[in-house]
């Protein structure tokens, strides 16, 4: 522990915030859980410290400990948090009562905080203006009119158009990026010396994320505030950090300047984190080792002019793409681009408004999935399975793992009793789970294990196509690879074709053969994964790629980044037929 602290090189300026040997614990029935265990760090004025770690590393609790807003029943057990104010006074925040006046005077004024989910972090029944003026009136004792004027100015500062009108609107009337801007405006209202940002861009699309990061950087330069930035995304760290604190299971693994962390990491855990990010920069080894696909084969699925409208909203607009046997087709796009609708339409969870989906069955017979009904649809559905995003929500908590995995066999009347049990054990071994745990319930498994259960369920009926909708988005990076590698291994073993839906270009590049890029219900570009991810043709794809934070602190060129503005006539840019675009 002490050798880690001694790495801190510069002590020329008096740090704004010094955290020493902080321990935050949660009393549980089974004992005391130390969410943050003896960590120390310091932030200098105007600098950015990034705290990185996977879920459960204690990074959020660290941030909340500083403001004494740890959720019940957590409490700071020992250590100190010294805040050195500009006027020369110092205050140990760890010694203050969480409900005391002294700590309340620091919150929102000296140190303010923004959170991950801008929607739920703003009150749904109060206007944005109300929530911003509240801070101003509280700490700066402004009058209502003054506070309103100042709040409009703040919204202007975070580049919200028509700030006067925006004040009287509610959070749900804002877009995701706008909400986070409003949160930032609220946090900056009293010109704090330190801004704590707890995963502020995780819920946002990459292009929005890039804008928010730029905004924070710019505000930091003009106001000279320090930023404590909590994230799990090493790319973001590389782009914005001065110093980095790597956390794992409540302890500090490594602490030092960003360049050192990325280019000469000392700790094995840090090395693993950096390694897994760099891995996403290229194609998977399993993929490279595989013989090239037979591109002359008849497509297993041929989607032609597929449209899906929800009322006025065209979630899918004239999409055509094909899938070869054994191929992994990536579908990439931002939220609202229609990629999930596409996956669900293929599964016929939706009835498409128009278009055809020609599926070639194992015996060579071609059926149109868009038109199938009754028994034929049921038969086809057995050969098309889905893996979902949320490993927690997609498994019935009241069914044992054996029931979850065996259910498709049981309901289709294929197997029961001993044969079913043997099959379940075999499937669990196939996805790398110990069959001994098959009588346990999903809550006993970690996120990665649950996703393996979901995959086992998907391959139960020997499907030929698997639609994976953001299958690895909810997983930590270290687990993500294991699941991706598992999917690729199964693909080769079982001769599966994948439709892999993701917003993460890295994941797509790692495992896909071809990629389709979606934008507002349209497929704007289809091509080899290598080409689309590294050298795209369409302006939207270029903008998307440019917004992805590069995991290298020496490569911080923001000038390359630009936002895609849709041309007036969109039809010209629409790829009509994916199979012909090969």
């Amino acid at each position: 522990m002490t050798d880690i602290v001694s790495i801190v090189p510069r002590q020329t300026v008096k740090p704004l915030l010094e955290v020493k040997n902080l321990v935050t614990e949660f009393p549980l029935r089974t004992g005391i859980f130390k969410a943050v265990n003896d960590i120390s760090f310091a932030i200098e004025p105007g600098k950015t410290l990034c705290v990185v770690g996977e879920s459960g590393s204690g990074k959020s609790v660290t941030a909340r400990s500083i403001l004494q807003i740890v959720d019940q029943p957590g409490r700071i057990a020992s250590g100190s948090i010294i805040l050195n104010r500009q006027d020369g006074t110092s205050l140990d925040l760890a010694k203050l009562d969480p409900r005391s006046k002294a700590i309340r005077a620091v919150r929102g004024r000296d140190i303010s905080m923004i959170f991950q989910e801008p929607m739920s972090s703003l009150s749904p029944v109060h206007t944005v203006g109300d929530q911003i003026t509240e801070v101003l009136r509280l700490h700066l004792s402004m009058s209502k009119a003054e506070a309103r004027k100042e709040a409009a100015e703040l919204l202007r500062q975070v580049e919200i158009p028509n700030p006067e009108q925006a004040l009287d609107r509610y959070a749900f009337q804002y877009s995701g990026g706008m909400r986070q801007r409003a949160m930032i405006a609220m946090a900056l209202a009293c010109k704090p010396q330190l801004l704590i940002a707890d995963e502020p861009t995780t819920a946002l699309d990459v292009t929005t994320q890039a804008e928010i990061l730029d905004l924070i950087k710019r505000l930091q330069q003009t106001t000279g505030m320090a930023v404590l930035f909590i994230t799990h995304d090493m790319g973001v760290v590389a782009q914005i950090a001065d110093d980095v604190l790597v956390m794992h299971h409540g302890v500090v693994k490594e602490y030092g300047p960003v360049d050192q962390i990325f280019h000469s990491p000392q700790d094995p855990y840090t090395k693993m984190l950096i390694g897994s990010v760099l891995k996403l920069e290229q194609k998977a080894e399993i993929r490279l080792a595989r013989p090239p696909l037979d591109t002359s084969a008849e497509p297993i699925l041929d989607i032609r002019n597929l449209s899906m409208h929800f009322g006025e909203m065209k979630a899918l607009n004239d999409v055509s793409i094909s899938l070869l046997p054994g191929e992994t087709l990536g579908i990439v796009g931002e939220s609202g681009s229609g990629k999930t609708t596409m996956g669900r339409s293929i599964m016929r969870l939706y009835d498409p408004t128009a278009g055809e989906m020609h599926y070639r069955r194992a015996n060579g017979q071609v059926v149109d999935l868009a038109k199938l009904e009754g028994a034929e649809l049921k038969a086809a559905r057995r050969e098309l399975r889905m893996v979902f995003q949320d490993p927690f929500g997609s498994l019935n908590p009241r069914m044992t793992v054996a029931q979850v995995i065996g259910e498709p066999l049981l309901v289709n009347g294929i197997m029961k009793g001993k044969a079913l049990d043997d099959k379940v054990c075999h499937l669990m071994e196939q996805v790398g789970l110990d069959p001994a745990g098959r009588e346990r319930y999903p809550h006993a498994f970690s996120g990665g294990q649950r996703q393996r259960i979901g995959i086992a369920r998907a391959i139960t009926l020997n499907p030929r196509i698997i639609v994976a909708d953001e299958a690895t988005s909810a997983l930590d990076v270290s687990v993500r690879f294991q699941v991706l590698d598992l999917l690729m291994r199964l693909q080769d073993e079982l001769k599966l074709a994948y439709i892999f839906i993701s917003h993460d270009i890295g994941v797509i590049r790692y495992m896909c053969d071809r990629v389709g890029v979606m934008y507002r219900g349209r497929l704007v570009e289809v091509g080899e994964a290598e080409k689309v991810c590294n050298n795209p043709d369409h302006a939207y794809t270029q903008a998307l790629i440019s917004a992805i934070p590069r995991p290298d602190p020496r490569d911080r060129d923001r000038s390359r980044r630009f936002r895609y503005v849709e041309p007036a006539n969109t039809d010209t840019s629409n790829v009509k037929n994916g199979s012909s675009a090969r």
Partner: protein
């Protein structure tokens, strides 16, 4: 918004017709009619009525006509003259009978409602904020008692205690000398001195359930990120509670208005009978037992109208209070 209100009001018309017809049919479904009941009552005091007199009575009340004709006549009377018909049993216009009782019903219902909310909401918030504290457990114990003791039993016990131990005058809402007197300050005071017992009895079980609901609502809201945001702004714990989670936790209560209104009439029948309260509920029960169709029909119609109006009011209020409903 206006369009929505007009649409809802128009929808109320067919609903009211359907319900009134159903009510009319249901009241007539049991074998016999008011005259049969009347004869049975007289027979128990050894008075015998022959077939002819019975037929005459039926003709006088219009009970000899087919049911549909009776219904149409009744509805026509309401629509054209606002006449809800005569009560067979009381030999008085139905509307007069109902209105007479409505004022006191309203007083009692409002008094117990205010008592319930005033006690339950703060306790519910306290229980949620201090979850698993001694205070929370004490209130939880109270609420379980309050919910599990039948209110008529509570009424009997409290009546006994009040009458025997304290010599209070229980039963009814007035002392004998004021029962028929016209309204005066003295009568008001008399009413207040009688009101506390029924209010306390009626409030116990609803307070108990409301505390649980409020506690659950608050517990849902307290861990929400917007509460943490407010805390991170430096708001004091009390101000923060009142402004954010409490405000949102109260929204579900607005929906309860929908069933508060009909409860004015049909609620707490048993307690009202046990305590001999001159409210609407015992009258409703009596009219149903005696197959006094016009009186019962008018009651059912009123309950239905109040339900519809109540849900309209709560929908409008909810939209006014919650911008998500108003604007999305």
């Amino acid at each position: 918004m206006l369009k929505f209100i007009v649409k809802r009001l128009l929808w109320m018309i067919p609903s009211l017709f359907a319900v009134s017809f159903l009510a009319f049919v249901l009241i007539q479904l049991p074998p016999g009619d008011f005259v049969t009941t009347y004869i049975a009552t007289l027979a128990s005091s050894n008075e015998v009525i022959d077939q002819n007199t019975a037929a005459q009575l039926r003709e006088r009340f219009g009970l000899d006509q087919p049911m549909l004709v009776q219904y149409l006549k009744w509805v026509w009377g309401i629509l054209s003259r606002g006449d809800f018909g005569m009560s067979f049993e009381w030999q008085q216009p139905v509307s007069g009978l109902i209105w007479e009782r409505m004022a006191l019903t309203l007083v009692l219902a409002l008094a117990s409602l205010i008592a319930t909310w005033a006690i339950a909401l703060p306790i519910g918030v306290y229980s949620a904020v201090k979850k698993y504290s001694i205070g929370d457990y004490a209130f939880t114990a109270f609420t379980f008692f309050g919910l599990s003791i039948p209110s008529f039993l509570l009424a009997l016990v409290l009546m006994y205690v009040a009458a025997v131990e304290f010599g209070a005058d229980v039963g009814g809402l007035f002392s004998q000398e004021y029962e028929t007197a016209s309204w005066s300050i003295a009568k008001m005071l008399d009413l207040l001195s009688h009101l506390w017992l029924p209010v306390a009895i009626l409030a116990v079980s609803s307070t108990a359930s409301l505390i649980r609901v409020m506690r659950a609502n608050m517990l849902d809201e307290l861990p929400k990120p917007y509460v943490t945001t407010a805390r991170a702004k430096g708001l004091s714990e009390f101000r923060l509670l009142v402004k954010y989670p409490l405000r949102i936790a109260l929204n579900p209560f607005i929906s309860t208005i929908a069933w508060l209104l009909p409860n004015l009439i049909s609620g707490s029948v048993v307690v009202a009978i046990v305590l001999n309260l001159p409210t609407a509920a015992p009258l409703l029960l009596q009219s149903l037992m005696a197959q006094d169709m016009y009186l019962a029909g008018a009651f059912v119609l009123l309950i239905c109208a109040l339900t519809l109006i109540g849900s309209l009011i709560s929908d409008i209020l909810l939209a006014l209070v919650d911008p998500r409903i108003r604007l999305e």
